[in-house]
């Protein structure tokens, strides 16, 4: 197993965040790792998935050959509609977001700072332009902002940092971060390690993190799907 793949799988990371979703929540999943949250078995909880292009209440991906070519989520994937789904235009879709009716957005990120700033629209400060999509609206307005990302970059640099070096998407908005190394919470006192991935030590987490961590005497293991 390579160093980078140590700890949780991407599905386990997203399962852990999905456990935090409350019954009846309206949830927006960003492109990439966060989409895996929709594979979680929510049991009796009703979760309404919202997509930037106005699809409210979409279900699993359509089976091959059964795709409706006029129905995609924000990642361009052909999804299905659950009973009670509604489709609105982009301005109404973002009105819902801006008015704070979205309970959580789960986003990918390049960096998250200990104060809750995060960066996900530009690969470097030098890059011209960027790909914001709906991330700035979502991050500024959702009730909760969760981030799912690998703990380190491909070349081994920390993604959890004191201050973002890459231009931020929004300031002070992140609540929870899951990485392959564990679950982290942004608190007023700083970034706290709440749960640790199996097979990873606290010292390993500290060494791979670019900011101070608040660590209790005994950090429980990351809660897993039974």
């Amino acid at each position: 197993m390579s160093e980078r793949a140590k700890g949780l799988s991407r599905q386990q990371m997203c399962d852990r965040l999905a456990m935090e979703f409350g019954d009846g929540w309206i949830v927006n999943l960003g492109i990439g790792i966060p989409t895996l949250c929709s594979n979680f078995d929510f049991g009796d909880k009703e979760i309404i998935f919202h997509s930037e292009n106005g699809v409210i209440g979409y279900g699993p991906l359509a089976a091959t050959g059964k795709e409706d070519l006029h129905l995609v989520n924000a990642g361009g994937q052909h999804v299905t509609l659950r009973p009670g789904a509604a489709i609105v235009h982009h301005a109404d879709s973002f009105a819902l977001i801006r008015a704070g009716r979205l309970d959580v957005t789960v986003l990918g990120a390049y960096e998250v700072a200990e104060n809750g700033d995060f960066a996900n629209w530009k690969i470097s400060a030098k890059q011209q332009g960027g790909g914001i999509g709906g991330a700035m609206d979502l991050a500024a307005c959702a009730k909760h902002v969760f981030v799912a990302m690998e703990h380190q970059t491909r070349d081994g640099r920390p993604r959890l940092v004191e201050r973002c070096a890459i231009p931020a998407t929004a300031r002070g908005v992140v609540d929870l971060v899951v990485t392959n190394f564990g679950l982290f919470e942004v608190t007023k006192a700083g970034l706290a390690l709440r749960e640790i991935a199996p097979g990873v030590t606290v010292d390993e987490v500290k060494a791979a993190t670019g900011c101070n961590l608040i660590i209790s005497r005994e950090v429980p293991p990351v809660r897993m799907v039974a």
Partner: protein, 225 residues
């Protein structure tokens, strides 16, 4: 206006009058509701110094690298400015036709959060000149721009984005110009139609104007034109 005057025999005829310097919105999101035929027609028509508004200059992963999307018009040198929610590739492996032109200083690229882009056009269509939004506050995009606090929270001033033309796609039109969209085909399309002085729509199906609604349940077209 007579209903007949609203239909054209070809995409080329429909875009014939677009002048140099026009601001054009192109609808669609992840290929769905994207006016691929009108993109091709405007690229062929050759109007220059265009300001083009769209979610992205790329249609989506399922389209070939050179369109039919905004890429062809950019490569033709027809575009002076784009206003989009994506102005750079989101993956290192991707290439945008736009990037080369922006790096050479030939095209100005205005990057706008997606919800702000939609609301700027909604505002234009609703006669609202500007509005405040929390999106992009505290970011590079807000540097040097007007912000204001309401109820203790900071908001960024954004201006309406009126269009000269909207090039959009729908499932069905009647000859009066009322449109119906299928599933997520709606996206930016009806908003751009509202924001534009002239809307040009490509449709799967053109029908006659249906009889006026009777009784309790009115017809419910997706966009009235």
């Amino acid at each position: 206006m007579s209903a007949k005057s609203k239909t054209y025999a070809s995409f080329d005829d429909a875009v014939h009058d677009i002048p140099d310097g026009a601001t054009i919105g192109f609808g669609g999101f992840a290929v769905v509701g994207m006016p691929i035929n009108l993109y091709e027609a405007v690229a062929k028509q050759g109007a220059k110094n265009l300001t083009c508004v769209s979610n992205s200059t790329r249609g989506g992963a399922t389209l070939p690298a050179n369109g039919p999307d905004m890429g062809q018009m950019i490569a033709n040198g027809q575009v002076k400015k784009v206003i989009c929610a994506f102005t750079a590739p989101t993956r290192a492996s991707q290439r945008l036709v736009l990037t080369e032109y922006v790096e050479k200083g030939l095209i100005e690229a205005e990057l706008t959060p997606q919800g702000t882009l939609a609301e700027r056009m909604r505002a234009a269509g609703a006669g609202i000149p500007a509005f405040y939004t929390p999106a992009a506050v505290g970011t590079e995009l807000a540097e040097g721009r007007e912000t204001r606090f309401f109820n203790g929270r900071e908001y960024l001033l954004e201006h309406a984005l009126p269009l000269d033309y909207a090039c959009i796609r729908a499932y069905q039109a009647d000859t009066a110009g009322n449109l119906r969209f299928r599933r997520s085909q709606r996206n930016f399309n009806p908003i751009m139609a509202m924001a534009a002085r002239v809307t040009i729509v490509e449709v799967h199906r053109l029908v006659k104007i249906p009889p006026a609604p009777q009784g309790w349940w009115p017809q419910r077209p997706g966009s009235v034109g």
